[in-house]
């Protein structure tokens, strides 16, 4: 897409009708497609021997099941201590941080250990969750959605959070005020469209989302969709080429509508 000169209008991407051609799989490749240049020894052998192919499949399946294992719900903790403690335990086990109402942040240390003092906070709601970099996925959100008074949720750089996960956040609409999705590789503008359920949202961070096709336009549309929310990230002028005399102005940018 040609970038027009700055301080003019942002051209909306035109839907080029008729691309339902026979074309190969190039259109359907996810931005994070693992196309390694140069074939590894394992791939070479797997093409020639059934045993190696079966081994490779087994290793790939093990990776997938590891993520599933990390996201399993802790039902016994839920039954004994209640949903808040179960949710907090889940997040801490994944490597994230939790803050109960009126308390400090609880984080696991370098080796992943954390103190179990919070087990007595059965009736104290969880207010903030920092799940940055955790391997939380669609299944794992079960534990988070039970935290009915959650006000702030940070999902920065989570590799498995995608559009499906965002569509699941609507039960938190009455309490959630801050959401951060910065750097999630699988979140695209289609998932951002279902954030309109979160009418209480005041801060939304959508910076650095590689799967979003036009960050500037997406930010404008999200701001229109959530009028009372402050949308961070994706500068509207991102992707535009600025002339040399206009450089200092690009950090300001026009006030959002």
């Amino acid at each position: 897409m040609a970038a027009p000169k700055a301080s003019l209008h942002l051209v909306a991407p035109v839907w080029n009708g008729g691309t339902r051609g026979i074309g190969g799989l190039s259109r359907v490749v996810a931005p994070e497609g693992n196309q390694k240049k140069g074939r590894s020894l394992l791939q070479f052998l797997a093409d020639r021997f059934y045993d190696v192919e079966a081994l490779r499949d087994h290793l790939l399946r093990k990776q997938v099941s590891k993520v599933h294992q990390k996201n399993r719900p802790f039902n016994h903790i839920n039954q004994r201590y209640g949903p808040y403690v179960a949710g907090a335990y889940f997040i801490l086990k994944q490597g994230g941080a939790v803050r109960f109402q009126g308390r400090e942040w609880i984080r696991p240390n370098q080796r992943g250990h954390f103190s179990l003092d919070f087990l007595k906070l059965q009736a104290v709601p969880v207010e903030a969750v920092d799940a940055s970099g955790c391997a939380i996925n669609y299944q794992g959100l079960d534990s988070l959605l039970a935290l009915k008074e959650l006000q702030s949720l940070w999902l920065q750089r989570c590799p498995h959070v995608d559009d499906w996960c965002l569509s699941r956040l609507h039960p938190l609409a009455s309490s959630l005020q801050e959401l951060s999705l910065a750097g999630c590789p699988r979140v695209s503008e289609r998932g951002l469209a279902c954030l309109h359920h979160l009418w209480n949202l005041r801060r939304l961070d959508i910076s650095d989302l590689p799967a979003v096709s036009s960050p500037g336009l997406t930010r404008i549309l999200v701001e229109e969709m959530l009028p009372s929310c402050e949308v961070l990230g994706a500068d509207w002028a991102q992707g535009l080429k600025l002339g040399p005399e206009e450089q200092p102005r690009d950090t300001a940018g026009p006030t959002p509508a």
Binding site: W15, E32, D163, S167, R168, H170, G191, L221
Partner: protein, 453 residues
Amino acid sequence: MSEIKKKIQSILPGGDWNPLYDTSYLPPEGSDVVIVGGGVLGLSVAYWLKKLEKPRGAIRVLVVERDHTYSRASTVLSVGGIRQQFSVPENVQLSLFSVDFLRNINEYLAVADDPPLDIQFNPSGYLLLASEKGAAIMENNVKVQRQEGAKVCLMSPEQLRNKFPWINTEGVALASYGMEHEGWFDPWCLLQGLRRKVQSMGVLFCRGEVTRFVSSSNLMKTASGEEVNLKRIHEVHVKIDQSLEYQPVECAIVVNAAGAWSGQVAELAGIGNGPPGTLQGTKLPVELRKRYVYLWHCPQGPGLETPFVIDPSGTYFRREGLGHNYLGGCSPTEEEEPDPGNLEVDHDFFQDRVWPPLAQRVPAFETLKVRSAWAGYYDYNTFDQNGVVGPHPLVINMYFATGFSGHGLQQAPAVGRAVAEMVLEGHFQTINLSSFLFSRFYSGEKVQEHNII
């Protein structure tokens, strides 16, 4: 030099060497299952057959598709929506499983060394509007849907205006909004993903047309002493594209997944040849019906949160992409059915039948500009607009997976699994689709769906 290399490769074991002439374009001489039709339903059946078979590699499957560019296939011309807001509980279950399949598509359809699939799912949900007359039916439907596990909420006109200020709620008494598991996606990607996976599992593809079934019949007596003529298909004659040559393929099971042309394939098998009113005389009531889809641009139109909106008049629309483009259309009434002979688009239909209700429902659509349009076929089931799944009672080795009248794409993964279970086990295991069997056409029990667009 390359000719010699090719010749040597074909002679070595594993190559297809035929000393008389090259037959690599012909289908094999025998195959356990022949699937007529290579669209999303046919490929889904092939996938689940290969996935559920025991032991691995036991079943040989051949998919016969005469249109290798898929230029007239309903799958790729579809608008790509998926919803659970149906009135028949089996439809809701089928749709829920299919959404599950789509969400985990990279686990189901993973092929080593190939990039993961991105079906571009928009989880924006469906918004069905109902007038005064339809409000009670809608409430009942939502109760059924919630029982099956769909996440649907009912909205009053007041709530509708608050949430979507661009809607004109005049004439709307109730609305049902799908919060999760509903939306739209790219059907071409699903088709290619299935094709790629199914090829890696060893299913053979043939570019040809089924012209004849060779079958044998047996006069048998039922338990009550009646005489029935049971037929069994032994061979399928596959005519090669653009040639007079055909290959007889010996088969054990034939799956009719030919979409809009399933009625013609069923006639080839002799289904419906008999005195009317008997089981032999009951035809497969699936016909071609042409439907138009229009793409327009409206810069003041509804924003990013727009769901797939279905008006009480039957008109529907959804957003497409980020640039204020919208797709939509309307199903014509029985009298206005266009001629399904070709896929030409009638633009007057948009002016007369689609635009007025749209502009009335969404005032911003009064100024819009149509960018393009296309037409596709519904495999329309004239009996009750719901799918036909399972074996035929008389032609005992023909299985149907067709007749979904516009919601085949969204139920394809689940229907594929149901047919594979029927073929491999003899009965439905996960979702019970016994009310979708062929015999209902003879006994007259309609599975009427109140939510077809």
